[in-house]
């Protein structure tokens, strides 16, 4: 009768089974070759680039690859959405994970000020202007040309047709993990023990490993995907913030 969604023991056992599966996938599906290819690709851009890390599985894998095999002192950008969209405990964990994966990286954290108001959950238009405005100023501040992102072709048709190098107004986006599948990403996470927020596993158990994504919580923007309803049940503790 504990209030936690899952009995921790049951979750551990379930997680262990999946860990075995993904580690086997890493060895058998040639994920290491994809990693080598991603390393070669990232090397072309890392010197004049910045790695954007949300703390989700894709960006953490990208950061791990870049920090361990390409450039340990890479420039990292992290966007803090504020307590109404990302609970502080999860944000704290994300920051710890970034420092753990890339201890020598230069980390730049920008905070979404409106994320400290409840309005952030319903008004996402200001988020877009704040985020892209920050990216623009960051590009100029650090004099970088490339933004390395953990975007994959497998995620959507739109991302697939977009290509691997996308020119934006003030910068160029490059996607080293472009050819990774969702299985490859999880395989990399488990094989190299890349830290990801625990909340992933609670969602993965309900939605499946393929569909689980780290996005802002209780966000009206994702209501059409049914996400806030799921958040209310799984993250009930953070539904009301004082």
């Amino acid at each position: 009768m504990r209030s936690t969604v899952y009995e921790s023991g049951a979750l551990d056992e379930w997680l262990e089974r999946w860990r075995d599966y993904f580690v086997t996938h890493y060895d058998e599906a040639g994920v290491e070759e994809k990693v080598s290819e991603a390393v070669d690709f990232a090397k072309q851009y890392a010197d004049h680039g910045i790695v954007s890390v949300s703390g989700g599985k894709d960006s953490m894998v990208l950061l791990h690859i870049v920090a361990t095999r390409v450039k340990p002192d890479v420039l990292v950008f992290h966007w803090d959405h504020g307590p109404y969209l990302i609970p502080r405990e999860i944000e704290q964990k994300i920051l710890e994970n970034i420092h753990k994966v890339a201890p020598n990286a230069k980390i730049c954290i920008k905070t979404y000020r409106a994320g400290f108001s409840e309005r952030a959950r319903t008004d996402w238009k200001t988020w877009y202007s704040a985020f892209f405005g920050t990216l623009d100023s960051l590009t100029k501040q650090f004099d970088v040309k490339y933004h390395l992102l953990g975007i994959r072709a497998d995620e959507s048709c739109r991302r697939k047709v977009r290509g691997r190098v996308v020119e934006r107004k003030g910068w160029i986006e490059v996607y080293p993990l472009y050819f990774f599948t969702w299985k490859d990403v999880w395989a990399y996470v488990f094989k190299h023990s890349v830290p990801v927020p625990q909340v992933y596993f609670s969602y993965a158990k309900l939605l499946g490993w393929r569909n689980v994504r780290l996005v802002t919580f209780f966000d009206k923007e994702f209501e059409k995907y049914g996400s806030p309803q799921l958040d209310s049940v799984l993250l009930w503790r953070w539904k009301t913030i004082f």
Binding site: S3, L206, Y225, G226, Q229, V233, W236
Partner: protein, 211 residues
Amino acid sequence: MENLEIVFHFSTPISLGFPWIFFDSLLAHIMLREEFGERYYSLPTKVPIKDIPRPPLKYYRDVPVASVSVLEPNPGMYVFSYFKRGNFPFPRGKIRRGSGFFKDFYLKAVYVPAQRARFYATGELNEVRRLVSKVSALGKERNIGFGFVRKVEVMEIPSEFGLVKDGVAMRPIPVKYLKHYEDSAYLAYKPPYWAKESVELCAVPFTRVEL
């Protein structure tokens, strides 16, 4: 006022929008529906109703002596995923797919394939029995068949379990009313449960407490 145990027997799994269902809010909902009749379904959305009827329950300070749902058996949660998109012949011309009839949406309903929901409360037996007999379904997504109630039983029990049972909180109780508590969170503890004024630092249901 009698100590009561209320059991809802389901014929379909129950869908949840929050981990628990509050028994006092369920009674308040039925009372409000009785009061407003058909008008209940066309209430103004800009000005929410704040005068919620007081259910026929005992109160400990301002906390209703009524537990949250105990789902039995509890085989864990599952997600019902549904993607509504236009797979019918579209009319000629431009249509809006962002809203209205042709709107595309995903539905992710968290459900528990439980057979019963058990509640404990202290209140007026006959009035509670009359009110719960009007409940045809519990939880969310009732319009697509979740949480259909097959039978309701209201039984008198010797002890009061609406707040605490065997040293365990049966509902959110403000920590200021407790001597000891194991876990706490900001939760609504009285109706209206959607209002921020009802939220306080409370002991989490099903964790150990001492009144």
